[in-house]
């Protein structure tokens, strides 16, 4: 039986894996991808030690770092169930079942969908949730970024270098997000900010041709060829049915990253830790690994 399974390989999961590997715990990392949301980020300028690094580069560094310790990694595998019976925790994926003594849930968050007609049909046909990945395909085209927070601002700032025009469609009356990014967006000639505006539908033929927007009670079409949805995030916590969560469905942890189930720890954006940052997720991951190590030392399973 394994001593530790880490679910997720973003900043929290990878850092937990590095710490656990250095404690010589027998471990397995199960994840859909490497890097998590960090891999989707544009420019990262607040991760200590790197004055500037891009998301994909940082994700690459993460992969390299766990590679160095020869950590056993199941990539492209999604966890669908987590159950503790007796001292054993059973982790179920779409492909297999695994038994372990402890678990760290570091499954992060995913993009929230808009929930409007046309969204599913036009996904990857002009509509995307990742400006960093897909932005360069919209060179010289008019695009819309949906949202008003930091990730929407980040997407808009990436797209001004690529697209012919960037509409920033924000449902509230003013942008949120960091002042420094807001100023950059608001002063950019290519950006047209549409506050108090709701997206009601995605339209097109084979590919996106536009969106329908509603403001001041009136619906009107807006011609764009690319749509970047940045309307917040949902925690990937559904599989952990027995674990206590807050109203946002984030897993509740204490300062030692313990959940309500002994032996089950959680770290990073999937938890209720205040502030979601790459460096915070990484720090939380290391804490969770040390807690799991201490738990094993104290409980002779």
């Amino acid at each position: 039986m394994l001593e530790l399974i880490i679910i997720g390989a973003g900043p929290a999961g990878i850092t937990a894996a590095v710490y656990a590997a250095r404690k010589r715990m027998s471990l397995l990392v199960i994840s859909k991808d490497i890097g998590g949301q960090a891999a989707w980020s544009g420019d990262i300028e607040n991760y200590t030690g790197y004055q500037f690094i891009s998301g994909p580069e940082l994700a690459d560094k993460f992969a390299e770092h766990i590679g160095k310790y020869g950590v056993n990694l199941k990539e492209q595998e999604a966890v669908v169930g987590l159950k503790k019976s007796g001292d054993i925790i059973l982790v179920k994926t779409g492909k297999s079942n695994y038994e372990t003594k402890t678990v760290i849930i570091a499954s992060g968050k995913r993009s929230r969908e808009l929930g409007v007609p046309g969204e599913k049909e036009f996904k990857n046909k002009g509509l995307t949730y990742c400006a960093t990945c897909d932005g360069p395909l919209f060179s010289g085209k008019p695009v819309a970024v949906i949202g008003g927070g930091n990730s929407a601002l980040d997407a808009a700032l990436q797209l001004v270098n690529i697209a012919s025009k960037v509409y920033l469609v924000n449902i509230t009356s003013a942008l949120s997000g960091d002042e420094i990014m807001r100023q950059k967006v608001e002063s950019d000639q290519k950006v047209e900010l549409l506050n108090d505006t709701q997206v009601t539908a995605i339209t097109g033929d084979r590919f996106v041709k536009g969106i329908k927007i509603k403001r001041a009670g009136r619906e009107e079409p807006l011609a764009v060829e690319g749509i970047f949805v940045e309307v917040g995030l949902l925690p990937n916590s559904e599989f952990a049915t027995d674990v206590e969560k807050n109203k946002l469905l984030e897993i509740q942890v204490n300062s030692r990253n313990e959940t309500n189930i002994p032996g089950v720890f959680a770290a990073g954006d999937v938890t209720d830790v205040p502030e979601k940052q790459i460096i915070i997720a990484a720090g939380e991951g290391s804490k969770a690994a040390l807690s799991a190590f201490r738990y094993l030392a104290q409980h002779k399973i």
Binding site: D33, I34, P56, D60, Q76, N124, S139, F207
Partner: protein, 78 residues
């Protein structure tokens, strides 16, 4: 043997990097097009795959969208 492998990618997408790494690790020779810089190839990719997400792999005419490791293995006969 010797399947023709084409990768359509951008430099900013981590799945593209991982897909190319995977091909390299398996000693697969492939041609890579950066569709953020090459509009013609971007159009070709959209034509072939009917969508705009990267990466797209063309393995002897079989189109694989995204870094679908199992799909790539199968197409390559690994």
């Amino acid at each position: 043997m010797g399947k023709k492998v084409t990768v359509y990618s951008t430099t900013t997408c981590s799945y593209c990097i991982r897909a190319k790494q995977f091909l390299n690790e398996n000693n697969i020779i492939f041609e890579n097009f950066d569709v953020s810089a090459d509009q013609e190839k971007a159009q070709e990719m959209i034509q072939k795959s009917g969508q705009m997400g990267v990466p797209v792999l063309d393995i002897d005419g079989q189109i694989i969208v995204g870094f679908d490791k199992e799909g790539i293995k199968k197409a390559l006969g690994l």
